[in-house]
Structure formats: C-alpha cells, structure tokens
Amino acid sequence: MEKLKYALFTGCTAKQSTPEQMMSTLAVADKLGIELVELTEASCCGASHLQDYDDFLSLVLNARNIAYAEKHELTMVTICNTCQLNTAMTKHRLDNDEALKAKVNEKLAEVGLEYKGTSDITHFLYAIIDDIGLEKIKEMVVTPLSQFNIAPFYGCHNIRPSELQNKTHKTPESAYRPTSLDDLIIACGGETVDYEEKTKCCGFHVELQAPRTAAILTGNAIAGAMDGNADWMVTPCPLCHLKLDTQTHHASEAIGREVELPVLHMQQMLGLALGCSAKELGLDHHLANVNFV
C-alpha cells in the first residue's frame, strides 16, 4: 500500500492549550505510517466566531488555508471539529458558488494564491477510518484497552450539519446515532459507554458570554458519562476537550454535583492501544488526572 500522506491543519489549540493533542497526533501518525505535512502557513479558521463579524474575511482566510493544502496536492486533515466545520463549510460554499469563488480568488490573487477546490478536507478520525480501516487498526493494537469503559464524546462540529459532514468522509455518520468514535473504541479493545449526552454540545462557544449555560452543558456531559459507568471519556475535538478537562470546577458548581473524569483526545486513546508511551502522548498535560496509565 502506498504511504498515506495528508496536509495537516493543526488549528490553534494544538500549539497552545492542548499541546498533548499535537504530540499524540504525531505519535499516532508515526505508528500508523502516515506522513503529515504541516500547513505552517495556515491561519486561525475563525472558530465559528469571526464569521459572525466578517463573513467574507472568514471565507478568504479559510480559502487561503485550503489553497496551501491544494499546493501540496494533498487532502487536508483537521484535528479539531470546529476547524473541520469552518474549513469544510468554506469549501462547500466556494465549490457551489462560482461568483463567490471568483470574489475570494480575486483577494487571494493579491498574495499569489488561488483556491481551486481540488483538495478534500476531512477530520483525522475519519481519515483513519476511511483510509486505514478499523480492521487494520484492530490488527495493529498491541495494548488492548479491554479493561476500560470509555465514553465517546463526538462534538457537534463533526456530526452536524450531517448533510455537509457526510460529504467530507466515506463512512456515513448519523447525527443521532454516530458510530465512528464508538467503532474506534471497540477497535482499540475498549467497551463503549452509551449515554444521551454523547452527541450533545459541550458549551465551549459561549464560555465567555454565557458561562452558566456553558458550565451546565459541560457538567451534564461529564455526569452522563459518569452515570454510564465510564472510566474515562474520549473526544476528537480539542475544544470539547478543553471544556471537559479544564472546566470541571465550574461545571460541578453549575449542576450541583462533583463531576470529573479523565478525558482523552481520540489520538491519545488510539496511541495507548498502539503502544505509545504516556509521555509521547502528553498525558501529563491534563488537568483531570489521567490516573490509569
């Protein structure tokens, strides 16, 4: 099989508040024999907030990021749900509106770039499932996570709006009964925890302006996983991770119940199963102590 190669759009948190996410992405890619070309030129995607202020600027900046992946003639892989949604949504709008694409390209031409629409954009989770396959992953597992009940937390921006999301990966995913993360848990040898909040919002995007709403949503999510008898949670989104891992104090206060669970990035879970060390996966960068490794 030809070596898999992707253009990696790291997003902003991987370089700042979730360094462990970057470390584990690289460690897992190495184990899986994936070559990642980091798009070091990429800017922030606007995180679904810049577009509230300036939609066109948000489009231009995202189109620029995609243009760099196109230059490499590679599929763009994201490791953040919100980066994925913003980038995929930009691609969808530009690919379906020639006039808008021309307007954006007029701006990109000023810096010698062009958005063509030739690169696919997919989250690392789906790249692994689509291009490597769960069976192959299963074969590669050296440390099955068989003693753990693991609660998947999907994160809104990977599963909704499903019409757009299902264009970005081959394995179909339902917004109500998603399976990708559950399947990956099972491939890693773990038991999945089914709970109502696994497809719900973590509250990240209103943490500053509506802290009570954000804290209750985070609290409900962790409480749901705890009530499902989870040993820990896993998520493909670093923004969900930040909420679930660092905001447990506010979340506990908001819902009137002490909630805390170790929360792993999808890459860290896979890394553990593939035999990466705790150090390589950055498990010491968590606030909710990862006490089982």
């Binding site: 606007g46 300036d54 600027l57 909704r160 104090h249 968590h286």
Partner: protein, 326 residues
C-alpha cells in the same frame, strides 16, 4: 424487489403517557405493531389512539407538513410526525422506538405540551412587517425576486417548535429566544419593506435572550422539517448587528472581533490575548483555571506566541478583505 412492494416489520414502541390532571408522574406504555413501509410517524400515533387506547392525546391537523401541530420526539430527535417516514426512523434507530412529546417538562397530556414559552418568544421578536403603509398607494410596492431571495426561505417556517425544543440553550436559559424566533426575526429583518430594523435588532443583541447566547451546536439545522437552517439565520443576524451599528461593546462582540485582531497579528489565534481582549478587567475570574493550566503546560507566554508562516500574506488579506467595522 419492486419499489412498489409494501413491506412490514415489527417495531416496539415505548410511548410517553401523562395526564397533568390525574398523574403524579409520567409513565411509558409499550405497544408492538407491524409497521408498513408506507407509514409516517403520525400513522403510528393514529393507530395507538384508534386501535389501542382512545385516551391517547396528540395534536394533528393538516397531515401535510404545513400546520406544524404534530411535532414530537422519536428517540430524542425532534420530528414532524406527518412528514417523517417510519422506514427512515427504523433505519436510523432500529426497531425499538421511544415516542415522547417535544418537551417532557412542558407535557400537559401525552404528546400535547404547553407551548406558551415558544409563542411568547415568537411574539417577542415582533414577527410581522413593521412599516408605515400608505393606505391608498399610487404605485405598487415592488419587491424584486433577488430581494425576496434574501429571506433565504425563513418565511417557510411553520412554527412547529422542532428546533426550539431541540435547542440545548432553551432547556437551560429561560430568557433565550431560541432558533425559531431568531429565524422569524431574520425573516423580517431581511425584508426590504420592513422599517423596524434597529429596534428589533436591539432586542436580539441583548444578553441572555439574544443571538449571542447561541452555542452553535447545529441541532436546529439538523431537525428543521422545512430545512430552514435556523443557525444560518442566527449567523446573518450576528452580521446585521455589526452592519447596522447595533452591536455595542460587550464580551460577546469583542470575542467575535478579537479573532480578526489576533489573526492579523499572529495568523493563529492568541488564546490568552483573545480572552483578555474579550473580558477586559473581568479576566481576573479566569486566573484560577489559567494557573492550573499553566502548571500543566497549557498556557503559552506572549513572548513564545507561535506565528503563522507567511504572516505578511495574512496581514495583507485582513486589510484588503475586511468588510465589517466595529
């Protein structure tokens, strides 16, 4: 198999039952039925009433996806009963289906809920054309097809409440207007004949009730039976607030604008800088968590702030492509 063949399969229904007049607590009744491939969810509600229990209560009227009366939840998913095909529900959730009202805590009898909060919020956005109409006009008041298209089909809303009761913020924050009211507000804000503009927008800008409390979860877009995509309208309202000069400086508006400043300066987002820009002096409340994060290597100091390569390109694009002012 011919596409005309009607197939049947056995489905177990767990149906929410409650009568606010008599019951202390709700309970679930089990029904097992052979469901045909031609049926919609409303057919099942009818069969429960007609074949099993005449006291079973639900709202229905048009049976054509127009009146919006029959919205309920199937396995937690808001759905318009007369439009949703049973086959699709079975494909999505399997043969064990739970039938519940849109909002359990608002249940009056079985599927019937008290929708007062929905209508109050609907009313709060002044869901009508506000205009000094000349009663005896000399010419027509023309609206071009291009202008009508700007409504983005928000006028197709049937007020079924599917999005409203799927919205996690509505569940938590009783002041929040919710996606249906916002879509309705957009419908009139985007109407070239409407003259309310800033007064309606001002209410949408208010914290707790307005658009800034939207969590961007896309639940509303996912459930809307008319494919109105309420969150798209919420985004448009955000943009209108800036465009019409209604947006005042608060933590939410500074948060949105802060992304531009950060991108212009670093390419990537300066997380700490954004929180500082958004919160101002209130940043002190984040210090306890920030200290914990710092100890775990999760805070990058300003002097180590990463920057995108080819930052000059980004600066140039921010300058040439900006279309909004604050």
């Amino acid at each position: 198999m011919s596409t005309n063949t009607i197939t049947t399969q056995k489905v177990n229904f767990k149906v929410f039952r409650f009568n606010a007049d008599d019951d202390y607590l709700p309970y679930y009744e089990d029904y097992t039925m052979e469901v045909t491939s031609e049926e919609v969810v409303l057919d099942i509600l009818n069969r429960i009433k007609w074949d099993h229990d005449g006291s079973f209560s639900y709202r229905r009227s048009c049976r054509h996806g127009i009146c919006g009366a029959c919205a309920i939840k199937v396995n937690g998913r808001s759905t318009l009963a007369c439009k949703e095909r049973m086959n699709d529900m079975i494909e999505l959730f399997g043969n064990e289906l739970t039938i519940e009202p849109l909002s359990i805590k608002r249940a009056v009898k079985d599927m019937i809920i008290d929708k007062a909060d929905f209508w109050n919020k609907h009313d709060a956005v002044h869901p009508y054309l506000i205009s000094d109409v000349v009663e005896e006009p000399e010419t027509e008041h023309l609206v071009s097809p291009e202008e009508a298209e700007q409504l983005l089909e928000a006028d197709l809303c049937i007020q079924c409440g599917a999005c409203h009761y799927a919205c996690p913020v509505v569940e938590i924050n009783e002041d929040f207007f919710g996606p249906a009211a916002f879509a309705k507000a957009y419908r009139f804000e985007a109407d070239v004949r409407d003259e309310a503009h800033t007064s309606r927008l001002t209410e949408l800008h208010e914290e707790k009730q307005g658009v800034w409390d939207c969590v961007k979860c896309y639940e509303c877009a996912e459930v809307c039976p008319k494919e109105i995509n309420p969150i798209d309208k919420i985004t448009k309202l955000h943009q209108m607030l800036f465009k019409e000069g209604v947006a005042t400086s608060n933590v939410a508006t500074r948060h949105a604008v802060g992304f531009k400043h950060s991108i212009e300066k670093h390419g990537v987002l300066d997380e700490g800088g954004l929180v500082l820009y958004s919160e101002g002096p209130s940043i002190v409340k984040h210090i306890p968590v920030a200290l914990k994060m710092f100890k775990k290597g999760k805070i990058v100091m300003p002097w180590n702030m990463p920057k995108s390569d080819n930052l000059d390109e980004i600066k140039k694009l921010v300058e040439s492509s900006s279309t909004a002012k604050f």
